[in-house]
Symmetry: C2
Subunit: 388 residues, 2 copies
């Protein structure tokens, strides 16, 4: 069943090969001073930067640069962005890049007109914005986080070894996203695959919870089947438009709040993964991949019916005369084969962790209660150990 | 793959047993004079009318009544509604009912401040509104059309025997919908089942088109599996909240523009069904049911791969050593069994049609070109004949 919920998602998506043509018109709806938020400069190599500047110029905008957003955006980078926006009295924030740039733009948007410390207010105390919020738009060049159509923002604080995410309300959602699948072609294979697994894991985090018959679970089964299929094609042929366009759209819907409506959700794998990133700065999707199988094998017994359903409806497991546990494990086996096939990192050792870090990793791990089994500290350590 | 598209859907959904509690606050965002658009008075029997009036009163609204919207709203009823809105200088239109009431409210919304004839402008010439559009909200009491979260409006003109639909842009979408699954309990079984098939058919109309690998098709497979399962439960136990809540949410997503994005769509079954309604005033969902199997059996050969996929992914058909045609037919067989099981009308004779009407039905049928095979007039007549 579906519990009580409110669904509202006003982000306008402009999707496809020709989507950049609409950017200039879209920008005209907003103020004159635009802060351009982007990453390490890859957009200057592949020509996207030039196209964005042209659209900004066509729309008559004054541009303020805010470059250098890193894969796990830091609180220091956020503070720099806030200062740039204040110094230049910026009207609009345009993120050009992947989820890190969009996340950072949202965090700037809710902090520019706020006197309090953004880290403490939003990422430690999890308060909601009570100030004027700057509008954000994005040109997406990497797929995975879904940040283009939600209110989520994840910021890392290396001083306290905490990577913390906050899902904000609809006022923080980007106003629009320009999504050209061809813009994702130049993402290195490692990053592409990490992004693909981020999509898959977003869906699984919302799927593995609840024991009722819920419309959202059926939709997620469809989404997962699409991701699995397109991932195989994209890994073999990264410039396959069909696969890349499907993955781009799947990613948006995996985390734009839709599939979680009316049901509980887990997110413990993200908590384990964020702990790894906080200590190693490892790529987000790979941190999730490294702990997925140890985690699911551990909690499977607490929600075996859903794991059986996952095996049957997502992986077409057809075992006759098998126990529920055998069917469930066969599903996880299929998942593992797919993960290895597309080239994911399957252990935390490869991400720079070792035995000596297990206690520290556990210290950085939040415990969630929406899944089939909330973890104890000992269980968290055992899951990290099983991933060494 | 996904072609170029724009997706934007700002309708706010307030869903669940407690959703009416939010209506008053939602109404406060809009003007003082509210036109209350509803049907034949069933909402007065089941207490929903009282609850709506209380919310309107709590929000300090002046209410103007516009009752008597019929199942296939007529151009005459629309003209009445426009007159009421003009006479009372109405600020907001609140539809309380099913898709007919919401469709009618949207048509009023785009006509009040328009000097041209609404039938000619919107439903014959298919022009877009170029006047001020009144905001619309809804309290949904019947499930099926998806009108609560899209820009569609279907109006019937019995003088010309044309039932015509127009899908308007985002400015015509309802601002909000209050969706309490319990409000659908008192819908008679015949209407409930017709609504369920309307959902299923909306998905199939968008699924049976294209021959590529498209994310939207996977999502529709999930949605269809949910509808099939919840329909069986709801027919046996109409007050099963789990099933009714799933059906309500599935209906919204079957036709809120999402699943059609980036792909072609068919809609020929709706054209055939609307021709039947124009001549008989039969219940919309039943008209679709009556022509579905003759239509799909006829066009199957032009898109057999998709029918094979439908059999396997939606109906779990697992035939070894079978031809594509055998698998595809087995899928349609499963569809037919489910349709009979839930009690749908399977022929147009039961809806009041006979052999003498075939030519007239064909005259009222629009031909669509997005599916696997555009129909000739002879084919249309043969499909209607096969449904006698």
């Amino acid at each position: 069943m579906l519990g009580n919920f409110v669904y509202e998602n006003p982000t306008k998506i402009i999707f496809g090969k020709d989507s950049m043509a609409a950017l200039s018109e879209e920008l005209k709806k907003y103020g004159d001073k635009v802060q351009l938020i982007y990453g390490g400069g890859s957009i200057k190599k592949n020509g996207i930067y030039e196209q964005v500047l042209k659209a900004l110029s066509d729309a008559g905008k004054t541009v303020v640069e805010d470059a250098g957003v890193m894969p796990n955006p830091t609180i220091e980078k956020l503070r720099d962005g806030i200062q740039i926006a204040r110094d230049n009295d910026v009207d609009f924030l345009l993120a050009v890049g992947g989820g890190s740039c969009v996340d950072c733009a949202k965090a700037v948007a809710i902090s520019v007109h706020c006197d309090e410390d953004p880290w403490q207010k939003y990422f430690v105390d999890f308060e909601e914005p009570d100030c004027e919020i700057l509008p954000v738009g994005s040109v997406l060049t990497m797929v995975g986080t879904g940040s283009e159509m939600n209110g989520g923002s994840v910021i890392s604080n290396h001083e306290t070894a905490i990577k913390s995410g906050h899902v904000f309300g609809v006022d923080v959602f980007p106003k629009f996203a320009v999504m050209n699948p061809e813009f994702t072609y130049s993402v290195p294979q490692y990053q592409m695959v990490a992004g693909i697994y981020d999509i898959m894991n977003h869906i699984m985090e919302q799927y593995f919870s609840g024991d009722d018959d819920c419309a959202s679970d059926y939709i997620m089964e469809g989404l997962m089947r699409s991701v699995i299929n397109s991932a195989r094609v994209a890994v073999a042929d990264p410039k396959n438009y069909e696969a890349r366009s499907n993955l781009m759209w799947d990613a948006t819907w995996a985390l734009n709040t839709f599939v979680s409506k009316g049901k509980p959700t887990d997110w413990e794998i993200h908590m384990l993964g964020q702990a790894i990133s906080a200590h190693t700065d490892a790529t987000h999707g790979m941190t999730l991949a490294a702990v997925t199988l140890p985690y699911y094998k551990h909690i499977m017994r607490f929600g075996v019916d859903k794991f059986v359903r996952f095996a049957r409806n997502v992986w077409d497991v057809r075992l006759n005369h098998a126990t529920d546990e055998e069917v469930a494990l066969a599903g996880l086996q299929k998942l593992e084969e797919w993960m290895r096939e597309i080239g994911l990192v399957m252990n935390i050792t490869e991400l720079g962790c070792d035995e000596s870090m297990l206690e520290a990793l556990a210290d950085s791990t939040f415990v969630m209660t929406g899944g089939y089994h909330p973890l104890s500290r000992e269980e968290i350590i055992e899951i990290f150990r099983a991933s060494l």
